[in-house]
């Protein structure tokens, strides 16, 4: 038992844990924000998982063929927005079942990335290593003990994620557009009567979810390592949805929940690598399930206290 206490203390006093928390939270924050945009306007978006996956692939492909990771990011955004547009088209224009459409997007993303991986890189599994987005180094700050190792050198996307939270909060709660988004998500009939174009607002919400989920996906592949592996989103889109629910459909709430999941995941990784525990190799599987169990518990415990937009998931059919 003493070894466990020692190992846990070791994790918490190591700046690597905090840096890893930021890195693990970033894709979740992006995707959860994406969920907030979509569902605030009343469209359930489980397609986030697929959007992240295809964007992660797009990031690597763009970087591979141009040698410039920023073009990778651009391709990631393009593919992510395209997938979101498909989801929007089925669920808004054709009033389709949003969960079924989302499932279709996830399968399409798996199929397209798996297919193209073999076509473009000649082998299944993973791509070659490509150039990733350069990290932001805070000059002399890296020399500062502890904090230097924690935030001295991070991907610019980490900063973008937090800036996006502030931006989204402002947009959704402080602007006319945000008011329209919320009214369309809660009472589309009333919004329609008042002259708001329900369809356009919903398209906006879903396309924005494509933008943010794509940023999250791009971070996974070209944020640090510069490689795509098959199914690398690995459930993060769903965990992000859980973060959105726990965060009560608000950008700031979703961010805190995403950080909680990111920290749990980072804690997991760091604890496993503690030599004092002498862990058998198969215990990695026991540790691996912790984020998913946490999600399960939190979703089951918090749902009663949070409230989805009233018209969330219900197609709007104009008479």
């Amino acid at each position: 038992m003493n070894a466990w206490v020692q190992a846990i203390i070791n994790v918490f006093i190591n700046p690597v844990f905090y840096r890893s928390t930021l890195n693990q939270s970033t894709p979740l924050i992006f995707a959860a924000l994406g969920g907030v945009y979509s569902e605030t306007t009343g469209v359930v978006n489980i397609a986030l998982e697929g959007i992240m996956l295809i964007a992660a692939f797009g990031g690597v492909v763009g970087s591979y063929f141009t040698g410039n990771p920023w073009y990778g990011l651009a391709l990631a955004l393009l593919l992510g927005i395209s997938m979101a547009a498909l989801h929007a088209w089925a669920s808004i224009r054709y009033a389709g079942d949003q969960i079924i459409s989302g499932t279709a997007i996830i399968l399409l993303a798996q199929g397209i990335t798996g297919f193209s991986l073999v076509e473009l890189f000649g082998k299944p599994g993973s791509t070659d290593l490509v150039r990733s987005i350069p990290l932001v180094n805070l000059g002399g700050f890296e020399e500062v003990p502890f904090f230097g190792k924690m935030v001295g050198s991070l991907s610019p996307l980490v900063y973008v994620a937090f800036a996006s939270v502030v931006f989204s909060w402002y947009l959704i709660y402080k602007t006319k557009l945000g008011l329209r988004m919320r009214s369309v998500g809660n009472n589309p009939e009333a919004a329609d009567t008042l002259g708001v174009n329900v369809y356009n607002i919903r398209y906006f919400g879903v396309l924005m979810s494509g933008v943010f989920a794509a940023l999250g996906g791009a971070f996974l592949s070209i944020g640090e390592l510069g490689q795509f592996t098959e199914n690398m989103s690995n459930g993060r889109g769903f965990i992000a949805l859980a973060a959105m629910i726990i965060g009560n459909w608000s950008p700031t709430g979703a961010m805190w929940a995403a950080i909680l999941f990111g920290a749990a995941s980072a804690f997991n990784d760091q604890l496993q690598s503690q030599g004092v525990l002498h862990l058998a190799t198969n215990t990695q599987y026991l540790f691996g399930m912790i984020p998913y169990i946490l999600t399960l518990i939190v979703v089951s415990g918090f749902v009663g206290k949070s409230r989805a937009p009233t018209a969330d998931g219900i197609p709007y059919i104009k008479d």
Partner: protein, 352 residues
């Protein structure tokens, strides 16, 4: 409008067929764009699915668990539940059945075979009911909980077959089940065989049909799926039926996993679940949640899957099959799109 509405009603078969045809056309266009010949690819697909006796047997063996995961997802849909967790339920069912099966060396087959089936169904039912209970008692949406339970099941299985329940030799697989717990083979050709599991799957089609159409349970589950508030007003408990429906759905998925253990691998393997849970969604949607429709849809998907290996040899990555499935599901979701296309076609040019 009423004429249009009437038309929507009797398209249970035509609408999914159109979705299938469109998806194959789109996949063919993709193949042409990357310089492959779709005729060759689809020819190989067809040959791989039906071309030889071995291919046909392989096809039916693949259809066996798919009928069951299709029924699992379809039964959930009838109850208004989206069970994306067939994969997890399948894994837990298969794992428990394998454990029990590995302990039955001294049992006669008439005890071990039914016991395997029951344990496999119970395992899946338990995993499914857990998600049902979380929804009924805590309001947690089944889409998120079943997906989380999928991941947890995968980790549990990996842990178990890499440690406490690992066969000697260091490979991640369980010990074998007893001979008495294995399905007899109906036909054997070369390295492929047809196990009696297909009869279990077909029996499940009949049983699910009877449950849905002829029993009080089926009526209540459908009522809750159709309109939960009206059902509760009529004295039907929502909570009870949500848990029950998820348990039945999970039991069917668990049975699917057990088929793989009893008829194919005779042990638990890490890759046993594959994509059968997700395939179940495609199958339920194509089969319009009707047990008989699901049986046909499962055979369609098993044919595509069985043929995709041959297609891969012919030079087209079998991932194209996943794209085809994605497009089918997308078109089922956007079925108003398909219906619009159908109405145009039917009305003819003069009315447009």
């Amino acid at each position: 409008m009423s004429k249009l509405k009437k038309f929507y009603m009797n398209d249970k078969i035509i609408s999914p067929l159109i979705a299938i045809v469109i998806s194959f056309i789109i996949a063919a266009i993709v193949m042409i764009l990357i310089g492959k010949n779709p005729a060759t690819a689809y020819g190989a697909l067809f040959y791989g699915a039906f071309g030889t006796e071995g291919a046909l047997i392989n096809n039916i063996m693949k259809a066996t668990p798919l009928i069951l995961t299709g029924l699992a997802v379809g039964f959930g849909f009838r109850a208004g539940l989206f069970n994306i967790g067939a994969n997890g339920q399948l894994i837990i069912g298969a794992l428990l059945a394998t454990y029990v099966g590995s302990q039955m060396q001294t049992f006669p087959f008439y005890l071990s075979i039914p016991l395997m089936l029951v344990v496999g169904m119970l395992g899946g039912a338990l995993w499914g009911a857990l998600a049902g209970w979380l929804k009924a008692a805590r309001g947690a949406h089944e889409v998120i909980t079943t997906i989380m339970l999928n991941y947890i099941a995968v980790f549990i299985a990996n842990y178990v077959v890499n440690g406490p329940f690992q066969a000697p030799g260091g490979v991640p697989k369980s010990p074998e089940i007893a001979y008495s717990a294995r399905f007899p083979n109906l036909v054997t050709t070369g390295a492929t065989w047809l196990s009696a599991g297909i009869f279990v799957a077909l029996a499940a089609v009949v049983v699910v049909y009877i449950i849905i159409e002829k029993t009080k349970t089926g009526y209540e589950v459908k009522a809750v799926g159709f309109n939960p508030y009206a059902a509760e007003y009529g004295g039907i408990s929502i909570s009870k039926n949500v848990v029950l429906a998820m348990a039945i759905s999970g039991a069917l998925a668990g049975l699917a996993g057990t088929m793989q253990v009893m008829g194919v691998y005779y042990r638990y393997l890490g890759s046993l679940g594959g994509s059968m849970g997700f395939d179940g969604i495609t199958i339920a949607l194509i089969g319009q949640n009707d047990p008989i429709g699901i049986a046909f849809a499962a055979f369609l998907i098993s044919s595509i899957r069985a043929g995709s290996n041959q297609m891969q040899i012919a030079g087209v990555s079998k991932n194209i099959v996943i794209i085809i499935q994605g497009i089918i599901i997308f078109l089922v979701a956007a079925n108003r799109l398909v219906k619009t296309l159908m109405v145009w076609k039917r009305k003819g040019v003069e009315e447009i």
